[in-house]
Symmetry: C2
Subunit: 239 residues, 2 copies
């Protein structure tokens, strides 16, 4: 059990954390910027330094602040965003069903994303997409893992939609790439290169229908081939 | 700077945390179950009790373990899942654009979800959906906030698809409900009740096309009315 003194301080720290969150939401402290020192904040918010320290720790655990030892405390570049599996998918036992279900969701979202990307991509977006296409291709040809760059490519496509939610969802649902990615590296290499090129070419010439079709082909191709490799019918998501 | 001794212990704790994660992934310790005591784990993993304590703390911060004071430590019911805004949407400055973009994503995902729910919902699923429909209706008629139950209803529909990813995404993208939900409570009440009924009726009679149409109508209706209330053209997502 916490002592009374500890409890009081903990709830004060929570209040202080809440105040800091509000200041960040009001853009008083901006993403990526340094916040004032412990001492300055303690004075400003009229609490003790140890309360500020506890509040800052709580917000660091929630990815809102980043503590850089010896340099100070910063607002995270993307406050509150949990990278790296916020849905806890790595703890799912039935990996084959998870893979099939992720692909079903990708099959709904990503063709729409490709279409919107073809509508809204800037010159610069197209450059970034082409660059990532090249990087994925080079990694496949060298027989190295292309998973991280593959997810970056799909995220860059989502970013060029200009929808702010799509690029946040893509890394989450693209965990299907890494689930069986290593397994399929060689078998799917050439086709991955070609379908990626088709998607980025369609986006580059701002052809939404072609971008949608190319993305559909890319995902269907992945699904069917992995399912063949694993020789398991249950991998095929119900349609 | 951390001292050498502290560094050594911290990396040992990380290794221990990793070992615990692997045991959970292998289902040695199951979701919701109690794990052995600090002393038992220290013996089993051949580390000190303070290393175990630090590892457990790290995993609690990552929502993998739940420490219940005086009762012991449990594997989380959904290990690693971050509830409550894992995308950090509450820190987005442009709430109107966020609202429009969330609705665009819902417009892609949720009609498909309704369709799949109509295909795969069990008797029990239909009961739960109808029950939540009733609860949302009662709250609206009493003039109380229906946001939490509204999100539960949409999540229950997603759960009846039997796709394991869909019900994890729905609470995230349904933050659009709470963004302007209170604002529109009265204006949209009757229509929300009716469109929810149409969706659940279509699911109950296992009619995928009707379920899709009803969900589309529900989301379009919400989008158009909120945009009317706010009288801002930029709210309308580009289609």
């Amino acid at each position: 059990m916490l002592g009374t003194e500890q409890k009081r301080r903990s709830s004060l720290a929570e209040q202080t954390a809440h105040q800091l969150v509000e200041m960040i939401q009001k853009n008083e402290y901006k993403p990526g910027e340094k916040i004032p020192t412990e001492m300055e904040l303690a004075e400003k918010l009229n609490v003790s330094r140890s309360t500020v320290r506890e509040a800052v720790k709580q917000l660091a655990a929630r990815n809102v602040l980043v503590i850089q030892r010896g340099r100070g405390t910063y607002v995270a570049k993307h406050p509150g965003r949990v990278k790296d599996d916020p849905l806890g998918l790595e703890y799912v036992q039935d990996k084959k069903k998870l893979f099939a279900d992720l692909l079903s969701v990708r099959m709904v979202l990503e063709p729409w994303i490709a279409e919107e990307a073809a509508r809204n991509a800037s010159e610069r977006d197209v450059e970034v997409i082409r660059q990532l296409c090249d990087e994925v291709e080079a990694l496949i040809l060298r027989g190295e893992s292309h998973i991280a760059q593959d997810v970056k490519l799909h995220t860059a496509i989502a970013r060029s939609t200009k929808n702010m939610v799509a690029p946040l969802l893509v890394p989450i649902i693209n965990r299907s790439v890494s689930l069986f990615g290593e397994l399929s590296n060689n078998a799917l290499g050439q086709e991955t290169i070609e379908t990626h090129r088709e998607i980025s070419d369609a986006i580059a010439r701002h052809d939404p229908a072609a971008a949608r079709r190319a993305m559909e082909a890319h995902i269907v191709f992945n699904r069917d081939n992995i399912s063949l490799i694993l020789s398991e019918d249950q991998l095929r998501p119900g349609e």
